[in-house]
Amino acid sequence: MARRISLKTAVNEAIDQAMQLDPTVIMLGEDIVGGAGAPGEMDAWGGVLGVTKGLYAKHGDRLLDTPLSESAYVGAAIGAACCGMRPIAELMFIDFMGVCFDQIFNQAAKFRYMFGGKAETPVVIRCMVGAGFRAAAQHSQMLTPLFTHIPGLKVVCPSTPYDTKGLLMQSIRDNDPVIFCEHKNLYALEGDVPEAPYAIPFGEANVVREGRDVTIVTYGLMVHRSLEAAATLAKEGIDVEIVDLRTLSPLDIDTVLESVTRTGRLVCVDEASPRCNIATDIAAQVAMHAFKALKAQIEQVAPPHTPVPFSPTLEDLYIPSAAQIAQAVRRTTGGK
C-alpha cells in the first residue's frame, strides 16, 4: 500500500525498516538522537532537521550519538563495516566531509581492491547536500563529483520520496561503501511511497518525462527545476525528455545514450560547480559514444564557478533556475 509521505519521512522509514530486517544495521552521528547525557528529553532532536526522530524509541542503543569528531566516528563506521556490521553514519552536511575525507577515500574506498577482493565495507554515509537554505559557503555545497571521481565509492542522490526509500534500502543492503546525498530543499517534498520495504537497484536511471526533441540529464533538486522548464517549453512546442540519473556511481550511461540517440540534443543540468562535475562527465561520454547522433552543441546548466553565497539575493542567482534550463534547451533547438 502506497501513501503520500515526505522525502524526510521516507529516509526515516528506510532506516527503520532496515533496522527491523537486519540486526547488524546500526547508526552513528551527531545529535541523531539528541539529549544524550542532558537533563531533559532523549530523542530531543532526531538529527539537526529531525529526520531520524522517533528511531531511538524503536531501536534504542543501535543509534549512537557521537562527539563532534567526524574522523573518529565516520572512520569507526567504516571499521565496523569491515567487521560484520552494516553501519549508517550521518554526516550532517556534505561540506563536513573535509574533516573525515581520509577515512572515506583512502580507507573505505580502497579496501576491496587493495586487499585483492577479500574485503567488504557495507557502510552508508548519509549527508545533506545542496544550496537554497541560506546556509552559506560551508553548509550548501553539492560535492557529488568529488565522490564519483573515486573508484570504490558508490554515490546516490535521489529526487523523490519513492526513490529515496528504495535507494536508501539498497544502499544499506549494498556491500560497498555508499555516499547517500539528501537534498535539504527536498525534505518537505511529498510523494507516493509503498509501506512495505523495497529496494531500487543501483545504476538504473529513471526517465521522469518522455519527449522527442531534447534530452535533459540531471539528478536531485535539478530534476524538479528541469520539469518546470519542460512544462514551459511544452507550450512552445518543444518536447523535452528528462533523465534522472538517481545514482551517479554507478552511472546508467546506456539510458542517456539511448535517449540522446533519439532526440539528438543534450542539456546537462547539475547543481555542482561547473568544472569536472556530473554534467561535464555526461557531456564527455555522449561526445565520445554518440557524437554522430548530435544535431546541436551540448549545453551545460550549472552554477557559476564560485562558492555558494550567503545573501538570498545572490544565492537565488547562484542556483540554476528553470528559466536558465529552458534557455539552454532553446539554444539546442535553434529557437524552435
Binding site: G35, A36, E41, V99, P312
Partner: protein, 328 residues
C-alpha cells in the same frame, strides 16, 4: 569615585567593557526577535549569556592580535571591535556588510581588526591560529593568536592536533574552550571523557586554567596572566571558561533537552552582565543611572544598525562572480 576603584582596570576601561558586553547582549536579543519575525535568513547562533568571556579576554588584545572564532561568533566579533553596523548588514545579506553579504552570520570576519572569521566548520580555527601565532612569532612584535572553541568542537582532531603543534613550537597561542555544557542538544559530559580541560591541556604539555566564564573579572585576570606569558615567549596555554547560553543552539531550537526551569535559573542567577553591573555599582565605580544611560545608547545603536541594514542595498548579479580569486 575613581579614587577608590578596587578593580585592575580604569573606570573608563570598565565602562567600555560593560558597554561591549551590553552591545553583544542587545545585538543578540534583537536578532532573536527579528529571526522569530522571519526577517533574518539562514542559521543564526547567539552568544547571549557568554559575553564576559569574549570581552574579558579581548580587553587584553590589540588589532595586531588575531582571533579565530566559531559558528557562535557575533560576541567575539563585537568584543574584537568589528563594526556593529557592518555585522548587522552582513546578517541581513546586504552590501556594506562585513563580508558584502557573501558570508552571513556564520562567516563574519574583519581582518583589519585581527578577526579571522567566524567558522562553519567545527575545530577549523585551531590550526589557523597555530599559523597566526607562527606568523606573529616571525614578526617578533609580541602579538598573539587566540582560538575559541566550544566544548563540543574541542573533541575534533584538528583541535587536539593543534594543541600539540602549538606546544612543540612554543607558539604565542591561547586556546579558549567555551564550555556551555552543550553541543547542540548533546551534553558535554556525555561527549567528553575527561571532566577538566586542564587535564587535557596537561596531556598535551600545556598549562591550563579554569575560570567562571560568567565572571568578567575572573576571566579578565586569568586571561591577562596567560596572554602576558605568551607575549613574552612563554608559550601556549588553554583557558576553560565555564559558561551558559541563554538561547537555543540556533534560532528555532525548542531546547527540550534542558531540565525544567533550567533557562530561568541561568537567566536569574548566572547572568554575567547582571553580575558585572552589580560589581560596578556596589563598588561605587559607576551608578545605576550611568549604566542605564549606556544601556540606552546601546539600544539606540542596535536599533540604528537594524534600520540601516534593512535600508542597505542588496548585492547585484555582478557581485556573484567577484572575489573568488585575487586574480584568475
Amino acid at each position: 569615585m575613581a579614587a577608590n576603584n578596587p578593580f585592575p582596570l580604569s573606570r573608563d576601561a570598565l565602562l567600555g567593557c560593560y558597554r561591549r558586553m551590553r552591545t553583544i547582549r542587545e545585538f543578540e536579543d534583537r536578532l532573536h526577535i527579528d529571526f522569530g519575525r522571519g526577517d533574518i535568513p539562514g542559521f543564526v547562533h547567539l552568544y547571549a549569556g557568554e559575553e564576559a568571556a569574549a570581552v574579558g579576554i579581548m580587553s587584553h588584545l590589540g588589532d595586531g592580535d588575531r582571533i579565530a572564532s566559531t559558528h557562535r561568533g557575533h560576541g567575539h566579533c563585537i568584543a574584537k571591535g568589528v563594526d556593529v553596523g557592518a555585522m548587522m548588514k552582513e546578517i541581513y545579506g546586504r552590501k556594506g556588510g562585513s563580508c558584502e553579504g557573501k558570508g552571513g552570520s556564520m562567516h563574519i570576519a574583519d581582518l583589519s581588526k585581527g578577526m579571522m572569521g567566524a567558522n562553519g566548520i567545527l575545530g577549523a580555527g585551531a590550526p589557523l591560529v597555530c599559523g597566526a601565532a607562527l606568523a606573529a612569532k616571525f614578526r617578533g612584535k609580541g602579538e598573539i593568536a587566540i582560538c575559541f572553541v566550544g566544548d563540543g568542537a574541542s573533541n575534533q582532531g584538528t583541535f587536539l592536533e593543534s594543541l600539540n603543534l602549538a606546544a612543540i613550537w612554543n607558539l604565542p597561542a591561547l586556546f579558549v574552550v567555551e564550555n556551555n555544557g552543550y553541543a547542540e542538544s548533546t551534553s558535554r559530559d556525555y561527549a567528553t571523557a575527561v571532566n577538566s580541560y586542564v587535564d587535557r591541556a596537561s596531556g598535551f604539555g600545556l598549562p591550563g586554567v579554569v575560570v567562571d566564564g560568567t565572571d568578567f573579572f575572573a576571566v579578565h585576570e586569568a586571561a591577562g596572566e596567560i596572554i602576558r606569558r605568551a607575549r613574552e615567549g612563554g608559550g601556549p596555554s588553554l583557558l576553560e571558561c565555564k559558561m551558559v547560553r541563554f538561547h537555543g543552539h540556533f534560532e528555532g531550537d525548542a531546547q527540550t533537552y534542558r531540565a525544567n526551569g533550567e533557562l530561568e535559573d541561568l537567566r536569574a542567577n548566572h547572568d554575567c552582565l547582571k553580575k558585572l553591573a552589580a560589581q560596578l555599582t556596589s563598588a561605587g565605580v559607576a551608578s545605576a543611572a550611568e549604566l542605564a544611560d549606556i544601556d540606552r545608547q546601546v539600544l539606540a545603536l542596535i536599533e540604528q544598525a537594524v534600520v540601516d541594514a534593512k535600508a542597505a542595498p542588496l548585492p547585484s548579479a555582478a557581485d556573484l562572480l567577484t572575489d573568488v580569486y585575487v586574480k584568475y
